[in-house]
Amino acid sequence: TVGAVACDAGGRVAAATSTGGVTGKRWGRIGDSPVIGAGTWADDVCAVSCTGSGEFFLRVGVGHAIAARVRLLGEDVATAAGVVMGEVTALGGTGGVIVAGADGEAAWHFTTPGMNRGRADSSGTRAVAVFGDE
């Protein structure tokens, strides 16, 4: 699974996710990536793209849940991502999220040993990483 979230100069956010699913999937199994509100979500406060054991991200409604915490509780994107990923973990799921806030904040959070990830912004910050300790 791959994904991107962004906040543009106008403070608008967007999210996109794309996946091949899981090896050996059968019976028309579909995970969270194409389900709006689960693996992919964007509204006026933040954008979310997810990767991991899709069934758990569907059950938690991860994308919408993170945005709701930002909107209703005023949490920052990193805090909201951590709390909602805690719900995924509690159900037995693993994976990661990337989140871009309309306030220009951005965060990633993952519960697996590693995640292919990258970030860049207009201040010149730029990083890519794979292993958890990179």
């Binding site: 050996g24 964007a42 006026d44 990258g118 794979v130 958890g132």
Partner: protein, 169 residues
Amino acid sequence: MSWTLMIHGGAGRLTAETLTPAQHEGARAGLDRALDAGSAVLAAGGAAVDAVEAAVKVLEDDPHFNSGRGAVFTHEGTIELDAAIMDGATRKAGAVAQVSATRNPVALARAVMEDGRHVLLAGAGADSFSREQGVEQADLSWFATDERRRQFAELQASGDTFDVDMKYG
């Protein structure tokens, strides 16, 4: 004129033990290219929705990641692709599931979003919508890679035991 961009290429048991140095470096290079593509849009004052589509397209074309070229195989040895895109400014959204012949599924999700009549299209119907909309097509030979064939064979040999962490995806 500040902007931010975040990307991912999948999470899982990604460690120095499970990845070869070549896979590790290849993934990092692909992530760099995706950051270049999305940042170019944002630095030019472009919209977030165009930036995320541009970045994901780069990752879909990179065989190091499980999407588009390099996607994993289904139980039947086929490839079924899913994608979604959503614009926070308008709440417009497009998504496709189980598509099999669109080179960049995120571009098809964008076409669904721009068409606006539906949000989620699936299967053969989504494939025909893709052809009708003139989205670039590709066949199995574009999507299938030797590494994924190896993983598929490994899974078949293991008797289809399903490892939620490893999942090869």
